[in-house]
């Protein structure tokens, strides 16, 4: 074996080790969360965690239902705002705007992804929350405020990945459709969007992941009250906020209950991802 070939083997081995360590770190984190969170769930009953309404962690009352609903409500709200705006923007920039405009706007949108979430939360507190309080009522700290801010935060993800997948549609498809007398919008609706569907769904999945996992901005504007919201103007606490707010001083079973919160968040994200991936795969085979 020459030195060259030996080096090749060595590099292969090194890359394998690095790849494995990245995966194993992920696995260890998962294991750790489950090991810390599972025992207390079994001790008091999984049902009590999933469907209990009261959260008094120092008095053995660990109901997470308000937080589960809070996380789902805020995530759904952010998607309701983020998907139409994001898609409209991506479609406009790829199909209707000039190349120059796209070259100016796309980097700016990608820059939005780099703004720290605390800044988004700050904008929410300063501008959005008072606006909601004055015009719609309530304290302003609400599902609505959190949904709007999260909807804006996931825009860069949805827009830039959707643009990439729309641009990946072969020019010949568009040309063929236009040549058959279809208008630009008909072409977009009938040919381009269906062809780019799997990429667009992927962008929504990533956006959803960002929304459900976001903590800082949500803590600042969602109000954090442990109760099931009855309107979009009610305050909520999400699973992530619950962990972040209390981890600093929790100990004993309280601390374990926060890990259990993590376990449930983990499982919810896995379920949502699986559903989304399955729909995407189903669309592809159609």
């Amino acid at each position: 074996m020459t030195t060259l070939e030996r080096n090749e083997k060595l590099i292969q081995l090194a890359l394998l080790m690095i790849a494995l360590s990245a995966i194993s770190i992920l696995a260890i984190i998962t294991l750790f969360i489950f090991k810390e969170g599972m025992p207390i769930m079994f001790k008091y009953g999984v049902n009590k965690f999933l469907f209990g309404l009261d959260w008094y962690p120092t008095e053995q009352s660990f109901g997470l239902l308000p937080m589960i609903i809070g996380s789902l409500a805020v995530t759904a709200g952010s998607l309701i705002i983020g998907i139409p705006f994001g898609l409209a923007c991506a479609i406009f920039l790829t199909e209707f705007s000039s190349l120059r405009l796209r070259q100016i706007i796309k980097p700016i949108i990608e820059l939005l992804a780099g703004i720290p979430s605390v800044v988004y939360g700050f904008m929410g507190v300063i501008i959005l929350v008072p606006f909601i309080r004055e015009h719609l009522g309530g304290s302003g700290l609400s599902v609505l405020a959190a949904s709007i801010i999260l909807g804006i935060m996931i825009l860069p993800t949805i827009i830039s990945i959707s643009i990439d997948s729309l641009q990946a549609v072969p020019r010949s498809y568009r040309e063929g459709s236009i040549a058959l007398g279809a208008t630009k919008w008909q072409t977009t609706k009938m040919v381009t969007l269906p062809s780019a569907k799997s990429g667009i769904i992927a962008s929504i999945i990533l956006g959803m992941g960002r929304a459900i996992g976001e903590t800082m901005a949500v803590i600042m504007i969602a109000g954090n009250a442990v109760s099931i919201p009855h309107s979009v103007l009610d305050p909520v606490r999400t699973l992530t906020s619950n962990i972040a707010l209390e981890m600093g001083y929790a100990s004993g079973e309280h601390r374990q209950a926060l890990f259990a919160t993590g376990v449930i968040l983990f499982i919810i994200i896995m379920i949502l991802n699986t559903i989304a991936n399955a729909t995407a795969a189903k669309q592809r085979t159609k």
Binding site: E175, G181, A182, T183, S195
Partner: protein
């Protein structure tokens, strides 16, 4: 005699940004003829074809000068409906590009976009157009399967069929047989001779022999200029211009 002129190009020039791709083209196309356009790569023959249904508009920096009249109307006039123009001049590209949909949907696409939704009408139209391109017998049992699963030759005939479904007056063909085997080519050429009865056809081709086989008249393009146009027989046997002769006998290009 004037009504017999279908397309008239007068000093028509085309530019991509600073690049002039067509230089003052003057020619006429008569009704129900097949006009062959030959010339080496980059001679502007495809650009001319794509100017006729304004597909070049899609390319940023595209600009025209002079006039191009179809059925007596200046197609670059501001009040021209581009969508209607494209329905009137169906185009078939060099590489067959069916839309990523079923065979049926590919043929029904144009009429649907134009607002035809009656299932019965669409069924008739699809069957009729597929028969005209001799594809019907081969696909009638699998109209709902993806058009991308057809062979190259079948895909190209499908592309002709979906053009026919627009009920156009003109058929533009941009090197329609460049990727096809001789038998598929023969089938396309056969259907062209048949289609000539109803349509005016412009056939851009890299294959001079194909022009000789099917075109009534032939035009020779070189570097954005039209060098010569005339009866196909005359172009191929006694061309006026030395460059035409050189190209036909294969001295360049």
């Amino acid at each position: 005699m004037t009504s017999n002129i279908a397309i008239e190009s007068r000093d028509f020039s085309h530019f991509f940004g600073p690049l002039q791709t067509l230089k003052k083209i003057n020619l006429q196309v008569f009704r129900n003829e097949i006009l062959g356009i030959i010339g080496p790569a980059g001679s502007g023959k495809s650009t001319f074809l794509r100017s006729l249904n304004r597909l070049n508009d899609l390319v940023p920096g595209s600009r025209v000068e002079g006039t191009l009249k179809i059925d007596g109307k200046d197609i670059y006039a501001p009040d021209m409906s581009v969508v209607e123009l494209r329905r009137k001049l169906g185009i078939v590209f060099a590489t067959p590009v069916p839309l990523p949909r079923s065979i049926y949907e590919n043929v029904a696409f144009g009429p649907k976009m134009a607002g035809v939704h009656s299932r019965r009408k669409l069924n008739e139209l699809v069957a009729d157009c597929l028969k005209q391109t001799t594809l019907w017998e081969e696909v009638k049992d699998r109209l709902d399967s993806s058009a991308l699963k057809l062979s190259g030759g079948q895909q190209q005939r499908l592309c002709v069929a979906r053009i026919l479904a627009l009920r156009p007056d003109y058929i533009l063909l941009d090197e329609p047989c460049s990727g096809l085997d001789p038998i598929s080519t023969m089938k396309i050429e056969e259907s062209l001779r048949e289609l000539k009865k109803q349509y005016t056809i412009i056939l851009v081709t890299n294959n001079t022999k194909q022009a000789a086989r099917v075109a009534d008249r032939t035009a020779f393009f070189l570097s954005g200029e039209m060098i010569e146009i005339g009866q196909t027989e005359k172009i191929f046997t006694a061309p006026v211009d030395q460059r035409t002769n050189d190209y036909i006998v294969g001295r360049f290009g």
